[in-house]
């Protein structure tokens, strides 16, 4: 019997270690798990439930009304307009922010002495407080006081009401959105460009691939593929979440021409306190974001494609 004791003791010690590890693991993960449940999962569940009710903040009780909120949203001209506006906004911001980011990255990539300077300048809008800059933009675009209209006037054009003309307001906000995003995309593309081995370009030059268009089509663009996809998805998600400029510069106006999804949700949920309706709108918003995020995850898997 004495010969088995060390074996048993070792087994017991191993089991105790395992149990201790499990306890420690759960203990370390506990705060995060708690927060996850309380801050993300529970609210998500509440959101879903609320979207099927008629609750307004301050009501005493609530009734389940099924999909009524959703059908109301689909029929609601205000919501449909904000959905449409958001998509138009993304449609303008996406190609511009990606193409300009790529262009600037390619131009800056080859610079030796001026590279830091351009990196800093183009990245400044990303670090600036958008609200503060939004006010500056409001002033810049002012029909009577702003330098942009003064400049147009000097060229002989009539002044443009950038923020009060329903046809101009979305493109204007889109340009400001692009202004804030180009630096970010530039940095992402620069990282992608740096990853392309230099001797590929040299081999291509010896092979006859000499002019910039050929170099771009044969080497740069294909090897930037994963980076480009990633930038596209990130830009789309960021543009979809536009809120700050709308809230500060136009408040959805003029006449709902710049009303976007998040602003609609904000108004319904936190100004009019139509809580359940806002919950339904939030669910719609979430669905779109999830679709984009899924695409993003799939794209990331492809990033290590080229060995």
């Amino acid at each position: 019997m004495t010969r088995l004791d060390p074996v048993l003791a070792a087994q017991r010690a191993a089991r105790r270690r395992e149990w201790l590890e499990k306890l420690t693991g759960m203990g370390f993960a506990f705060p995060a798990t708690l927060l996850l449940v309380v801050m993300s999962l529970a609210p998500l569940a509440v959101l879903f439930v609320l979207s099927f009710t008629d609750y307004d903040l301050g009501n005493v009780d609530l009734r389940f009304i099924g999909l009524a909120n959703f059908s109301k949203a689909l029929a609601d001209p205000v919501f449909r307009q904000s959905l449409w506006n958001t998509f138009v906004y993304v449609a303008i911001v996406l190609p511009l922010a990606v193409a300009l980011g790529l262009l600037v990255a390619i131009l800056v990539h080859g610079r030796k002495h001026t590279r830091s300077f351009y990196e800093v300048v183009y990245f400044l809008p990303v670090t600036s407080t958008l609200i503060a800059m939004a006010f500056v933009w409001t002033f810049l675009l002012h029909p009577k006081l702003g330098p942009i209209n003064a400049f147009l006037g000097a060229l002989g054009f009539p002044p443009l009401a950038f923020l009060s003309d329903p046809a101009l307001v979305l493109p204007t906000l889109a340009v400001i959105g692009v202004w804030q995003l180009v630096g970010f995309n530039m940095v992402l593309f620069l990282a992608g460009l740096t990853a392309i081995p230099k001797d590929l370009y040299e081999a291509a030059e010896v092979d006859g691939c000499a002019n910039p268009i050929d170099r771009f089509l044969t080497i740069t663009w294909p090897l930037l593929g994963p980076t480009t996809m990633f930038v596209i998805v990130t830009t789309t998600i960021t543009a979809f979440k536009v809120f700050d400029t709308v809230a500060v510069m136009t408040r959805g106006g003029p006449m709902g021409a710049s009303d976007v999804i998040l602003y609609s949700i904000y108004l319904e949920g936190f100004q009019y306190f139509h809580t359940a309706y806002a919950a339904a709108l939030t669910v719609v918003f979430l669905v779109f974001i999830l679709v984009f995020s899924v695409i993003q995850t799939l794209v990331l898997d492809r990033r290590t494609h080229y060995g």
Partner: protein, 399 residues
Amino acid sequence: MASVRLRGITKSFGSTQVLSGIDLDIADGEFITLVGASGCGKSTLIRIIAGLEPQTSGHLAIAERPIDHLRPHERRVAMVFQSYALYPHMSVGANIALPLTMQRLSLMERLPLVKHLSPRRRRVMAEIMREVGGIASQLQIESLLERRPAQLSGGQRQRVALGRAMVRHPDVFLMDEPLSNLDAKLRVHMRSELAELHARLQSTFIYVTHDQVEAMTMSDRVAMMDAGRILQLGTPSALYARPTNLKVAQFIGSPAINVLPGEVDSAGRVSIAGSPLPLVVDRAARGAVSVGMRPEALLPQAPGGPGERLALGTRLRRVENLGAELILHCDVIGLDGVTVTSRIPAGAAPVAPGPLGLTFAAADCHVFDAAGERLAVPGDATPATSRPMPAPLASDAAS
């Protein structure tokens, strides 16, 4: 006629001089290797020939045509890079075809969507793929044409890089250390493949390496470079048997040449550690010199005899058994810190660590002055560093 001529090539990066006045004549069909330690400028020189770097001054000509103003793809050269530089997103076939698609299709016929509109493109592409197939079978990679570079082994990638170079039928093949990324066994195999390729194509090959074995075994002529200059240009045998510079002597040959410190007196007589040798040098050199002798020239044979062998007292420290021969590592008695190696065929009388008398002949000595330049011995042909006229080609030297 794909001769290559370099005159006065210099290159500086800012204040650093990387190449100082390179003159070189390479004959059509010659296999010439630029060899030297890292930083000697050999890669820079081959990149200048390719047109990837402009020279600071000097002229280049290929086939008697000046090429200084020509862009790389206009120079009719092809280059194999150390990392192979295969386009990772293209198949092997597309990689090899690229030089031809660049050459034969116009820009419109290459643009992404527009290209499908051109009927000529289909015909030209079929032609190109036929040529690619031909090259691929020469290199025995036809089965790999659909694969991506990432799926290939090192040796296979090397052959694809070669194929991409061959498909252009260039005047000159430039190779920048193409074998350094392969393991030892594969390197030996690829050495003979490259030599056979050269014999088959009979094109001019300019090869860069830091491995002296590659330089010796593959080349018609070798240019040993150091600090931006060509120290010696000649056949492999010439560099081995008559090195004109101590650095050349030490770089070429394995195990490295033995170097003993010596002196020259006013009469030109050479002595080592005070003992004079029957060796007199031509130039009025005096003072410290280096005396070199190859390991196979320093043997445990009896002194005197028909070769007038001279004695060198040593202590044998270690024997390396290479199978067919033994390398004896010895400490020289009387010269602190100086070690020599002797190379003897295996099967000679067994040697044990301890005192060992080695002997050498004066005729096997190479004497270098304090600056490393070879000192001529009466009866020698005049030593030369770089010759403006190309030496006669050894025909099929490797076989």
